[in-house]
Symmetry: C2
Subunit: 392 residues, 2 copies
């Protein structure tokens, strides 16, 4: 049963910004949408009910982490991620590729077929990626085929094709080789996904992944190649890698105009507050980012202040006796019940509640911004909202 | 305004077990009651709403920790602990004495006037206790008078008189000297409390603290001395110190029969599952203990199984694929929404949600037991309930 669709509901006149609705078997996702990350099958410190209270309709789980712990077979035994985590709204998973490459590269020098790099536990061939778990040393192989199987077993609503995540910095030759492999794996992902779809009743969508690093012609070639394949949507990868985020606007300017209007676009791993207008301008529909939740756990809380880069540090002594909430305009649970002084205290003495209250606020803040953006696009007032946010 | 009272509502025929209601300015407390500990102005990992969902009507905050961080002046600025923490039900605080002695003794060898022990940062005289903060080295003095002032500033509903917490093991001579000091400080606490009560509108209750270590004649002398003073209730101290807990039943058998029937009794720092029937038998009305919440954060979860000492370790591999809840009879949020397998996973990957879900279950479990005890006492079926629990 094909139970996935996307509809654009409004467009901005001066940019590519748009609102829409992604329909999935576990419900609808209004877009643009910020997608919190629940790496290890939990958005750190929050329950599913907390996420529902925050109007989160989609979150991101990393397939790589699920393979490592608890293992796909365990989650399959529980009937998939939704039942395992007690979450009944949509879920998106990635292919595992990004972590295989980035976590592998962090722990072990990466060695590719060019013979560059140190002796490594990450071995990449045209077939896939072989590496040893950093938990138990056990050998794992990720291929297009098993990545698709893993995501079906996890039961997420949106899957992402297995890709070769191009490192950064990179030579153009290396980037091209990596892109070609991503394209070969995209086809194999689609074939495997299509075969699996016949075995299951519930339809799960597959997004193609666009690579090409920071090279205009490669990004264009990748976008053209991937959009010719019958994916349900598209994910733009390789933007959050290393320093390449500086080039995000350029990459989006090359890729986005070539994407079909009628399919959803997900930007992988990007979503700091000051990125949001840029990506919405370019026509991105959904974006995941660990920044909101990671910063929260460090005590870096979001506020509407572009000059402060939208953030302040609650762990600074000056907040110890501050009886005001983080943001007196914010209606989140944290802001309506607690002072900055209490939050300062909880962080100062490292109490668990600190991380939860801070996470609630940061997700609420980013969601309120995104909801305002949706409303403004629908009312033709997106440009006003943007200038108001970027000058205060 | 005197706004504190206690009423016994039912009694068991074969023991001293009883039910009652403690009335305070922030509401009523049904007894017997388990009192969770929120050492640093938060019950670790939980919000006040979580505690309300768990039917918690009283929790314990440690004055010593409040003096250290954030400081009493800060909490006073917020209007007291209730407003600081966003908690509108009753609170109980201790005198600070226990931590001054026990935390001091842990970090620095304790030196008393006998000249025993190593050179120390904890100095005890008849006036009070002087020590240097283990946070910043700053000198602090605790006396009966400032302990009372601190507790009024914190605004808890039930205060405890400043006492000399007798260490264990201890000679009888040392125990007697410590007890005599406790008695002198009890009188000074009461005088200071009475003077402060005239300054405030809202009545706060003061419990006298009974010491005497594991010596029958000292415990009897202490009980007689303290009960002759016009305290609102009585706290039994010195039972949770070191190995002396083995003597809990003996201590309670000496002390409890001498306590007036019409005032509430609090047992300090005791409340493991297998202690509960013993202390209820003896006529204890309220008891605080960190064990339920501390064990939870270690993955030690409560179950109704006396042979297993009412606990199992969720971090053991055998629970990795267990699709059952912790306890299929438990109606808590954790048991009605999550499997042992998911909890195993959260503990295994050290996710923050683990601590919260485990804490919810352990408090729910102990509260369900205590609520059953109340019901059984009221219906004259306490002895049956007890034998049913102690044989399964």
């Amino acid at each position: 049963m094909h139970d996935f669709s996307f509809k654009v509901t409004a467009k901005d006149q001066k940019s590519q910004a748009r609102t829409g609705v992604i329909h999935t078997p576990h419900g609808d996702i209004q877009t643009p949408a910020f997608v919190p990350v629940g790496t290890q099958a939990t958005v750190k410190s929050l329950t599913p009910e907390d996420l529902q209270d925050l109007d989160v309709h989609l979150f991101f789980v990393n397939t790589y982490h699920m393979v490592m712990r608890p293992g796909i077979a365990v989650i399959k035994r529980f009937g998939g991620l939704h039942a395992f985590m007690h979450w009944d709204r949509p879920l998106i998973t990635d292919s595992g590729g990004f972590q295989v490459f980035s976590l592998g590269a962090k722990r072990f020098a990466r060695k590719n077929e060019d013979g560059q790099g140190e002796a490594s536990l990450v071995r990449i061939t045209d077939d896939g990626v072989t590496f040893n778990s950093h938990w138990d040393g056990k050998e794992h192989v990720f291929t297009a085929e098993n990545s698709m199987q893993y995501q079906w077993d996890l039961g997420s609503d949106i899957h992402i094709a297995f890709d070769d995540c191009t490192p950064y910095p990179v030579t153009k030759k290396q980037a091209e080789k990596s892109m070609d492999r991503t394209h070969a794996w995209a086809k194999r992902s689609l074939d495997a996904h299509t075969a699996l779809a016949k075995k299951y009743d519930l339809y799960q969508a597959l997004y193609g992944s666009i690579q090409g690093s920071v090279f205009e012609d490669l990004r264009i070639a990748s976008t053209k190649f991937i959009t010719r394949l019958p994916f349900d949507g598209f994910a733009i990868g390789g933007v959050a890698v290393g320093e390449s985020k500086k080039d995000m606007a350029s990459v989006l300017s090359w890729v986005m105009p070539l994407l079909p209007d009628n399919k959803p676009r997900h930007l992988l791993g990007v979503g700091e507050i000051d990125d949001i207008f840029t990506l919405v301008d370019a026509g991105v529909d959904t974006f995941d980012c660990v920044q909101a939740t990671r910063l929260a756990r460090m005590g870096h809380l979001f506020i509407k202040n572009v000059k402060a880069n939208f953030v302040f540090d609650i762990t600074k002594k000056e907040y110890a006796e501050d009886t005001n909430p983080i943001d007196s305009n914010c209606q989140c649970y944290t802001c309506t019940h607690y002072s900055k002084g209490y939050l300062y205290h909880l962080f100062h003495v490292r109490e668990l509640l600190a991380y939860r209250l801070a996470t609630i606020h940061n997700i609420a803040f980013i969601n309120n911004l995104v909801f305002s953006i949706r409303g403004a696009i629908a009312k033709g007032k997106y440009q006003q909202l943007k200038s108001q946010w970027m000058t205060v």
